[in-house]
């Protein structure tokens, strides 16, 4: 485990073309600091593997960093039921998209995490998720694109040999997850729902954890039942207060409805999106500088009340 800045982590651990798993879910615990830093460093041809995303996906796709996405859901909840930049890039064929279900993606991360050769499910039998592939035939078997999206197998334990869907495991080059706490030695604790973050981290070759607080290792080891990852699975830790902003981080802050609505306004339009990047992404070489731009008033408004873990009464219209 090595403590790094976001800039250092992106420069030394993420290459153009890498297959990257994004932690979090739609409006929650997206690795936003890392997404902004990848954009600042002009990463290209990224191959995202996600279940349901999300604000980080929107930024990365919009900024032209992404070539390829395996995904179950591309949206930001009520703020953008379908992600504007994701939709636009798909329709303009700037990205190739392979569609799965949330369970299928989760099982693939789990299979990667557990070293399973493949994993089977009944979910999706008979559908186009199983029948159709979104990646072009010529991409098959190239780089990290699997030779087959998935395949049907006969269940050897079923007397009738019913079909089941067999899925290949995912072992991304990099997992980007945002934790509430990391100990000085590298133990990680996610609070609230863990989504598929733990599976993604265990499946990945390189794990970069941004976190709200770096705490004494002993503090986390007093309650090991609550911890999520041991130090030896974590390659880099980046101190990142409000590192998921404008998405939420349970017990620390809510999603930022003001910023999300602002993004919703600009996201449909290429020029306005570029202006957003110029205003909110490119200028800031540190998280502190970005947070100054957000402003103390807004940060105070979204901070979580410890009794709820979110900001009760927050104006979310």
């Amino acid at each position: 485990m090595k403590l790094m800045t976001a800039a250092e982590a992106v420069r030394t651990l993420i290459k153009d073309g890498d297959q990257i798993a994004l932690g979090g879910f739609t409006v929650n615990r997206n690795p936003m600091l890392m997404a902004r830093e990848m954009i600042r460093q002009g990463k290209r041809h990224l191959y995202l593997v996600v279940h349901s995303h999300g604000q980080a996906l929107e930024l990365l796709v919009g900024a032209g960093c992404v070539q390829r996405v395996e995904i179950a859901y591309g949206g930001v909840g009520r703020f953008a039921p379908t992600g504007f930049r994701f939709k636009k890039a798909f329709l303009e064929k700037k990205i190739e998209v392979e569609d799965y279900s949330n369970l299928q993606m989760t099982l693939r991360f789990m299979a990667g995490a557990m070293g399973m050769p493949f994993v089977v499910t009944r979910s999706g039998l008979g559908t186009d998720i199983v029948r159709l592939s979104g990646f072009s035939p010529e991409s098959r078997g190239q780089g990290r694109v699997p030779r087959q999206k998935l395949t049907l197998l006969k269940d050897p334990f079923d007397p009738d040999g019913a079909d089941v869907v067999a899925l290949p495991p995912l072992n991304p080059d990099v997992a980007l997850v945002h934790a509430q706490y990391v100990g000085e030695a590298g133990t990680c604790r996610f609070c609230g729902l863990t989504f598929a973050d733990i599976e993604q981290a265990k499946a990945a070759k390189t794990v970069i954890v941004t976190c709200e607080e770096i705490v004494p290792e002993a503090y986390l080891r007093r309650e090991p039942d609550r911890n999520s990852l041991p130090p030896f699975l974590v390659d880099a830790v980046v101190a990142a207060p409000f590192g998921a902003h404008p998405t939420a981080c349970h017990q620390f802050y809510d999603y930022d409805p003001k910023h999300m609505n602002l993004f919703k306004q600009i996201a449909r339009d290429d020029d306005r999106f570029k202006a957003y990047l110029d205003e909110w992404v490119y200028p800031f070489d540190s998280q502190e500088a970005y947070l100054e731009r957000v402003g103390v008033r807004d940060l105070l408004e979204i901070r979580a009340n410890p009794g709820w873990g979110y900001a009760p009464g927050l104006d979310r219209r």
Partner: protein
């Protein structure tokens, strides 16, 4: 009987389909309203869970997405996708999933992925999320739709989530152990599926519309011979929905305007 919006009668119509003790797989929007209103009115032992891992949260404020931090408070268990999505198919749970979609066919199969094709895409939607999983494994599915001809189609552009497949016993033959759509709740009425053929038919239409209008908005032949007018929302139902479930009208949207 007061005036009400289409959104309000949709939420209440779906809520009425819930049985006490059902385990409710909710998304956001209408399904949150339906699940919550059912729990508050006639299904107090029903439990709501979210694909993100929030199992039976307290839900003091309405979550705006299934990953809203509001689904992590007061829960029985906070877990993740693997655990939550696995509950859908648990044989001892009567799991009822609420789903929406961009297109539906006469067997309740759903498209929430795209219009056109991968090669020539015309429109993009978010994709399955957990919808395909819920449609594959839940005990039953209740579908919300805007009732429009372009959404009720003969053939889906993309087949995301399995309903009754080609009808009859196709679903069981494909390998699914249970499930299938129970009802389609739209802004005009409630559709169900014929016992044998599994084709959609109109069960009830809302007081402000009629079967002819619904047929006109349906892109495939729809049996309306069983159709009756829906029981309008009661004052109690409306009060719970408006005062307790969504007082900020975050999901309900603008209130009904008295035409008088």
């Amino acid at each position: 009987m007061g005036i009400y919006t289409a959104t309000e009668i949709m939420a209440l119509s779906a809520g009425r389909l819930v049985h006490n003790g059902d385990i409710l797989f909710a998304g956001t929007g209408l399904s949150m309203l339906a699940a919550t209103v059912a729990k508050r009115i006639h299904a107090p032992e029903s439990v709501v869970f979210f694909e993100t891992g929030g199992i039976d949260p307290r839900l003091e404020e309405l979550p705006l997405t299934v990953a809203d931090p509001r689904v992590m408070v007061g829960s029985a268990v906070n877990s993740g996708l693997a655990d939550a999505l696995s509950l859908l198919g648990h044989p001892k749970l009567k799991t009822i999933a609420f789903l929406g979609a961009a297109q539906i066919d006469c067997y309740g199969n759903l498209n929430s992925t795209l219009l056109g094709t991968y090669e020539h895409p015309e429109q993009r939607f978010p994709g399955s999320g957990g919808a395909c999983d819920a449609a594959s494994m839940a005990y039953g599915v209740i579908i919300f739709m805007q009732h429009q001809r372009r959404r009720f189609v003969e053939k889906l552009d993309y087949f995301t989530s399995p309903g009754w497949l080609e009808g009859g016993d196709a679903r069981r033959r494909a390998g699914f152990l249970r499930g299938g759509p129970i009802a389609v709740v739209t802004n005009l009425g409630v559709m169900k599926f014929h016992e044998q053929t599994k084709r959609m038919y109109l069960e009830t239409y809302y007081p402000f519309t009629d079967p002819e209008k619904i047929v006109a908005e349906t892109g495939f032949p729809l049996d309306v011979s069983f159709a009756t007018v829906a029981i309008p929302p009661s004052d109690e139902e409306l009060a719970v929905l408006r005062q307790t479930v969504d007082p900020q009208r975050l999901i309900l949207g603008p209130p009904a305007v008295d035409p008088a």
